[in-house]
């Protein structure tokens, strides 16, 4: 009914709260950005504009380490989030669209387990476990551990989405002689897209930010950004970490702007 007295989709105040939400999210990052240009080695006393910390990131004694750490972090986060999202999507289908059966609730419990156990416990236990089965620690052990604890973060948004999709769509398709596989890939998956994107993004930031588990399961000589940063903080928080963070932000902002421009272009077509 377009003749409604008001636009039903709009709730007064929601826009304001969204803006507040973004302000809360970005205000600390503004501090990070500003202090990355600080001439002083302090992160709280402003002494004028300087690019020394950016120079430090590229040419300083630790530059190689940070570069490698950043690469490790991103490679691991992308793979771990992708694999976790795949596993989560399959599991959600099995739990929500495959009837009622004994293992169903148990499976859900298993999937949420990494959420419920404090990270330090998983960390110590996983390290002992890897050692017990004689698994050498390295990038692979980090990756495996990340996949495991990313699964619930991918699963919950995906499952929440799947519950909003009526089973009738796929049934209709199958009534029209679509195979089960086709119903899944052609009907269910496209409808699931926003849930899958949400799940992937959450898994990605969880992996990218993990310190405790990574610190225990990483092999000698392998750093990720969080382990490098936590380690560096031991000698005092220096603005070079702020510079690294700002550059990370810069890269991500460029990527987002690109994605926005592309989506705009699609729309105008």
């Amino acid at each position: 009914m377009s003749a409604s007295r008001y636009d039903l989709r709009v709730y007064p105040g929601f826009r304001a709260i969204t803006i507040l939400c973004l302000v809360i999210l970005y205000a600390p990052l503004l501090v990070v950005t500003i202090y990355s240009f600080n001439a002083s080695p302090s992160i709280t006393n402003w002494e004028g504009v300087s690019l020394r910390w950016y120079a430090d990131v590229f040419t300083g004694p630790e530059s190689g380490k940070f570069k490698l750490a950043a690469r490790n972090s991103f490679v691991i986060a992308i793979i771990a989030a992708s694999v976790a999202t795949c596993i989560a999507t399959l599991s959600a289908t099995a739990i929500l669209r495959a009837g009622k059966y004994k293992l169903r609730m148990l499976s859900f419990g298993l999937i949420s387990l990494p959420l419920m156990v404090p990270e330090i416990v998983t960390a110590v236990a996983t390290l002992i476990f890897f050692n017990a089965i004689g698994f050498d620690r390295g990038l692979l052990t980090i990756l495996l551990a990340h996949i495991a604890f990313c699964i619930p973060f991918a699963y919950l948004p995906i499952a929440a989405r799947m519950q909003g999709i009526e089973a009738t769509y796929e049934q209709a398709a199958m009534d029209l002689y679509a195979t089960r596989r086709q119903a899944f890939t052609r009907i269910l998956l496209p409808l699931m897209a926003p849930g899958i994107v949400s799940g992937f993004l959450l898994a990605f930031i969880v992996s990218l930010d993990d310190f405790i588990i990574t610190n225990f399961v990483k092999g000698a000589g392998i750093e990720t950004l969080p382990t490098a940063i936590f380690g560096a903080v031991k000698q005092g928080i220096k603005p070079n970490i702020m510079a690294i963070s700002t550059m990370l932000l810069g890269v991500s902002v460029v990527m987002v702007t690109l994605s926005w421009l592309i989506s705009r272009k699609d729309k105008t077509k």
Binding site: A27, I151, P157, G195, I229
Partner: protein, 306 residues
Amino acid sequence: MAGGAATGGSSTSDTYAEARTWLLLPAWVTLGILVLAPVTMMLIYSFLTKEFRGGVIWEFSLSAYDQFFFDRGLFGDDPPRIEWTYIQIFWRSIWQAGAATLLSLVIGFPTAYFIATRAPAQRTFWLFLVTIPYWVNLLIRTVSMKFLLRDQGPLNEALLGIGIISEPLSIVNTNVAVQLGLFYSYLPFMVLPIYAAVERYNFTLSEAAADLYASRWTVLRRILLPSVKPGIIAGCILVFVPSMGSFLAPDLLGGAKNFMIGSLIEEQFKGNAGNWPFGAAASMILLTLVLIILLIFARQQSKAES
């Protein structure tokens, strides 16, 4: 059932019943080996004798649970009384995590709704906008947050400047700071699942209700919220549960004068104490507690549904 809370039984179909073994296999293999096995090991550890300075001796012992529930004085030889210390720590954590979850919901729901009602092509952009801050390390974000909130920090100066307050607010090193820290650590975990659910919401339902003279807010309460409940529940779980075990942000912002569950357990594995069985026992109690909370939640929900 615990599962019901997040998966809501009502929409279950059996379309893929035949394939369910294959669909579940990857999750069982990955989590069975990488999570279930280590957690089972920790369960066993919680019933073993502690080795001084970390590690366990393979002898059955209940002393970890005894330490949790009974107070035997400073020197361990008083007659046992009920130990409130750890119960207090657990209660504090539940309370703080609950407050943080509520705060995330109040801010997160409108944000998720707002994003879901943007033009389809723009939604991914908004999602990125919400998650990008989390590309920056938690420690750095939290330290900056602390800088903003400090007594002479920008927030207080701004509020003083426009005359809302006449004395600087002392936020850092208080419970409020702990809650803000948790809220800030997990905000997108509330927004994204709700977004995924609202995006699917059928607005003709709202229109139908409005045609029956339901007010905007009645529509929100009676129609929109119930139909996106799975998303809200998923979001609450994703904020509440990790908040219970988290310690970095609350410690940095809250001053760490009082243990949270996370720091208590961390201390058993990494601190001077080095009491692995006790750390394991506290984790198992936490696990049980979270399961019970989810169960109560789920039971009430299924009652409400039927």
